[in-house]
């Protein structure tokens, strides 16, 4: 059975169809959530929550995007809503702990935790998520705006600023140099 048929059955309430759809998309969803949240501990819980939510909303799924895209949209919005509910400071502390843990896990497997990973971890979620969607998964600005319920201009500026921040962290010296040349040319 292909995805469309499975979705049709799922809409009729077929539990096996749901289970097959979820099993097929589960690794993709969890891997996306690890990158989007930079917190592997919560990725699996969020994935499960998103799957349950998708069951509630399956009648609203119009089949325009792939089922996997729809799932990550639901998961992302769940995560963002969750963050809004919690206190900011607490969230910051948790994020720091999660990052330290990730770094430790990497080093334990003698893989290097490089500057790019550290810089991405330090980005705020609302900036990192559009970057993951755009540059890693190849969604268009319009699709991302739709997924996150924000304006296209906001998506563009968040991605642009995010990349600029990462670049600054990776190459602090170059940034200074280009700044000085820029100043000279404008004189």
């Amino acid at each position: 059975m292909d995805e469309k048929e499975l979705i049709r059955s799922a809409k009729r309430g077929d539990s096996l169809a749901f289970a097959m759809l979820f099993k097929e998309n589960y690794p993709f969803l969890v891997k996306y959530l690890i990158k989007a949240t930079m917190n592997p501990d919560i990725a699996e819980d969020l994935a499960q929550e998103a799957m349950l939510k998708s069951m509630e909303k399956i009648k609203l799924y119009n089949g325009k995007s792939k089922f996997s895209s729809w799932l990550i949209t639901i998961a992302t919005n769940l995560y963002i809503d969750d963050l809004r509910k919690k206190k900011r400071e607490l969230e910051f502390k948790h994020q720091e702990q999660a990052l330290r843990k990730m770094k430790w896990q990497f080093e334990n497997h003698s893989e290097d935790w490089n500057d790019a990973l550290a810089a991405l971890g330090r980005l705020s979620d609302e900036i990192r998520i559009p970057i993951v969607l755009k540059h890693y998964y190849g969604y268009s600005y319009e699709e991302i705006a739709d997924m996150l319920h924000i304006a296209i201009g906001t998506v563009k500026s968040r991605i642009h600023n995010g990349i600029k921040t990462v670049r600054k962290e990776l190459r602090p010296n170059e940034e200074k140099q280009t700044n000085t040349t820029k100043r000279r040319t404008t004189k």
Partner: protein, 116 residues
């Protein structure tokens, strides 16, 4: 002329730097993907999860339906009582409803427009 050329060069350089940074970002994400292997449970586990959730949804639907019917009955009885016992109250309630609904939708619409 010279100035614009310089700015153009700068922009080009920026783009190149950007694509380099994007490459590094993607490499970092690939690293994360490779590092964490995801354990996918058996199909039965998913099926069970779905079955439990469907049961919950059915229960919730039934509860909501009963609550809806009870509230509707309550409102209907109070309105019918009002019509026969104190007609003026019924007319006032109808009047308030007729005015407040368009007002409410207008404010909601305006709020949505202002948000976007």
């Amino acid at each position: 002329m010279k100035k614009s050329k310089l700015i153009l060069l700068n922009a080009e350089q920026r783009n190149e730097e950007d694509s380099e940074t994007i490459q590094e970002i993607n490499d970092a994400f690939t690293k994360i993907d490779q590092h964490y292997s995801v354990f996918t449970p058996d199909l039965q586990v998913f099926e069970q999860m779905v079955a439990v959730e469907q049961q919950k949804q059915k229960k919730k639907f039934r509860r909501d339906l009963i609550a809806f019917i009870l509230i509707a009955l309550f409102i209907m009885t109070s309105l019918i009582t009002a019509v026969f016992q104190i007609p003026i109250v019924f007319i006032i309630i109808q009047g308030i409803a007729t005015i407040s609904f368009p007002l409410y939708s207008f404010y909601r619409y305006r709020k949505r427009v202002m948000h976007t």
